[in-house]
């Protein structure tokens, strides 16, 4: 088990967003988190790399362990944690700089490579891993803003891969993309799980069924059901899960 979550309660100020969430995230597998809007799945995702720290008044109780190490302990170096646990956002957010500099950003910030040639190598390797190299190799030094939406999202994935994370958190990575770009992202996720632990928040249940090994269903801040994807979609144990995946609400 890569990540171990024990009885997590999460608050935005006085408002509680997560209730007693406990689960385990498997290594080198894709875990999908589904549920209606506002159910807490994004909050849960963002608590895995302490992205919620940035929100004033946010507070977490309970335990989140990465490889057995409590990431909310005082000894935890948040900067280092975020390097190990990368994140892809719902809307692609390339930095306003060249394609190359976008991918090299994390490498430079974390001083993973100093020599130009080493950086070149990492940029090419990660762009290939993100299935983007062929499309951008002739315009590496053009603005990342000139790429299409789907390309921008794959660029963001490449950028996250460049710092050699162990876990990738994806917050609805394909929800703003057209079907073809979505298919590319899904294929990419499927390929990446050989090397990474991936957690994906998605609104799209077919997508969860297609790409994930395990699925968690959130409702009103509680993790209602967590099981192998096959079982969740064929024989859910809880009534609410069945209602949700058959489209009776949400």
């Amino acid at each position: 088990m890569k990540i171990n979550v024990g009885r997590v309660n999460f608050y935005y100020g006085k408002q509680q967003a997560l209730y007693d969430v406990s689960t385990r995230i498997r290594q080198q597998a894709v875990t999908a988190l589904i549920g209606p809007s506002g159910c807490g799945k994004s909050t849960f995702l963002r608590s895995l790399n302490r992205m919620n720290d940035l929100i004033p008044g946010a507070r977490l109780e309970g335990k989140v362990e990465l490889d057995g190490e409590d990431i909310y302990s005082d000894e935890m170096d948040v900067i280092h944690l975020r390097r190990r646990v990368g994140m892809i956002f719902q809307r692609s957010n390339p930095f306003p700089m060249s394609v190359y500099d976008n991918v090299a950003y994390g490498v430079r910030v974390n001083k993973l490579a100093r020599k130009r040639l080493e950086v070149d190598e990492i940029v090419e390797k990660t762009l290939r891993a993100a299935a983007l190299w062929e499309e951008v190799k002739d315009r590496l030094h053009r603005s990342a803003m000139s790429l299409s939406g789907g390309q921008q999202q794959r660029l963001c994935i490449a950028r996250a891969l460049a710092v050699e994370p162990e876990v990738l958190l994806m917050d609805e990575p394909a929800s703003a993309l057209d079907p073809i770009s979505t298919a590319k992202i899904e294929e990419l996720i499927y390929n990446l799980k050989q090397s990474y632990t991936i957690v994906v928040v998605t609104h799209n249940m077919q997508q969860a069924a297609r790409i994930s090994d395990e699925t968690g269903f959130f409702l009103n801040g509680r993790l209602v059901e967590f099981n192998e994807t096959k079982r969740i979609f064929t024989a859910p144990a809880v009534r609410e899960t069945e209602d949700y995946i058959t489209g009776r609400f949400g």
Binding site: N49, M51, L54, P56, I79, H80, R82, R83, G86, M87, F89, R91, N93, F95, P96, M97, Y105, G106, V109, N110, S143, M145, S146, L147, C156, R159, A160, V163
Partner: protein
């Protein structure tokens, strides 16, 4: 004629005419001023105007070279004070200030922005001129620099706030520290806007007269260094315009034309930079 439909149509026409006329008035003021300046000061504008010192009383000709250089020096000093403090203050407000401190600072800068320029002049007079014992470029530059601060703070803050939060999170998620993210991603994203804001602040103080009256004071000759009274465009316009000589009036008009042109050019350049940024961010 009295049917509601006709009345509605009449109201529509009248309102259109009134608002249109007011808009036309607002826009035409600028062109009227420009035209009038050209007409009155255009022929006093020659090479001498930019290269020569003012002619002694009784002689004609001469130029405003010292005032132009004086204004440039004052603006350099003002920038040295106003830009770093304004820029960094804006960065603090947008990126690091919590809710309460940021509110206090923001409110204070707004108040500072509302301080009448003549009061700023008295302040600089008391602090710098009285302490040093004489008028100087330094005193004038400080007065203008302080006036720049609030404008630069607020425009920097606003353009930084306009940067999407996902960019900040993106950088932090890659293991960047807060400072690093702000310095390498957020500020570059907002830079054209910030430069625009600072240019506008500069253009604004370039025309200030009141704070210079008893700080830089004015001078009919060159003002070497930073320690002596200096001429400046706005203050020379003021003195020439109230003098009883017809050719001085023309030179004042010419100086007004130069100053207004300068401010307009800076404004247009600022808008141009901003438009390019908007295009870049949209991709």
């Amino acid at each position: 004629m009295n049917s509601p439909r006709t009345r509605r149509r009449m109201t529509n026409i009248v309102m259109f005419a009134i608002t249109g006329a007011c808009t036309l008035g607002a826009v035409s003021v600028l062109f009227f001023i420009l035209g009038y300046l050209l007409w009155q000061g255009g022929h006093a504008l020659n090479l001498d105007f930019f290269t020569k010192l003012p002619a002694p009383v009784g002689e004609t000709g001469g130029g405003f070279a010292n005032a132009i250089l004086g204004s440039a020096k004052l603006l350099v000093l003002a920038s040295l004070i106003g830009i770093p403090i304004g820029f960094l203050g804006g960065v603090y407000l947008a990126e690091f200030g919590g809710t309460t401190p940021a509110f206090v600072v923001r409110y204070t800068t707004d108040l500072l922005n509302g301080v009448p320029s003549i009061v700023m002049g008295i302040f600089a007079y008391r602090i710098v001129v009285v302490t040093m014992g004489h008028f100087s470029t330094l005193a004038g530059g400080i007065a203008l620099g302080v006036m720049m601060i609030p404008i630069a703070v607020r425009s920097t803050e606003e353009f930084l706030r306009a940067v999407p939060n996902t960019l900040r999170e993106g950088a932090l998620a890659l293991g960047a520290t807060k400072w690093r993210a702000v310095a390498t991603v957020v500020i570059p994203a907002a830079l054209p806007g910030i430069i625009t804001g600072i240019l506008l602040a500069l253009a604004r103080v370039a025309g200030e007269t009141a704070p210079l009256l008893f700080t830089a004071f004015g001078n009919l000759f060159w003002s070497p260094g930073w320690n002596q009274p200096t001429a400046s465009l706005p203050d020379t316009i003021f003195k020439y315009a109230i003098a009883p000589y017809e050719d001085w009036h023309q030179q004042a008009w010419a100086a007004g034309l130069v100053l207004l042109t300068l401010v307009l050019v800076v404004n247009i350049a600022a808008r141009f930079i901003l438009r390019r940024q908007r295009r870049d961010l949209r991709g």
